[in-house]
Amino acid sequence: DQQVKQNSPSLSVQEGRISILNCDYTNSMFDYFLWYKKYPAEGPTFLISISSIKDKNEDGRFTVFLNKSAKHLSLHIVPSQPGDSAVYFCAASAKGGDAGKSTFGDGTTLTVKP
């Protein structure tokens, strides 16, 4: 049973518009959530995170929203830029756990068209 799901394998948006990437989780013990971005032939890089005590975290063009009751989080990128084209992974870790042992979703490939 996959505990972290990214149901959209791909997303295409126009430059300047908003990109919304979604992630659902099933494990109620998860209390820390992260988004990573990955370019081809490179390792993933940390993008933004959110603790379960918050419902929103913002960093520049990137905002993550957490809805604990729905076990759902989303990453908003505004405005989207062609350089944002990458695979985005959602990850979650459990209370008191090691964030390095996060459970990852399968990723969403974002394409931003000029």
Binding site: V4, Q6, P9, Y32, L34, Y36, A41, E42, G43, P44, T45, F46, S49, F89, A91, S93, D98, A99, G100, K101, S102, F104, G105, D106, G107
Partner: protein, 110 residues
Amino acid sequence: DAGITQSPRHKVTETGTPVTLRCHQTENHRYMYWYRQDPGHGLRLIHYSYGVKDTDKGEVSDGYSVSRSKTEDFLLTLESATSSQTSVYFCAISVYNEQFFGPGTRLTVL
């Protein structure tokens, strides 16, 4: 940049041969991890280490072993490679609640 390097970056090997992948970090981090990533899938944890000679299994550890005799090096060994172990392998370190990944090793088992 967390100073993580992986070697080799690419390797092609034959079924049944042993393979060792190396992860090297320069910043004395305690926590190190090995993941594999397969097409259409996220990263899955193979093994991890919380210090020298302190290692444990992740969710997909069968067929893999690790060793950490020095803080800076974390080795992943496939004792007898199989085609199902064809994958991209990432090493990572963790700092507070973030992970930093190496550039990956693409392993093909024929």
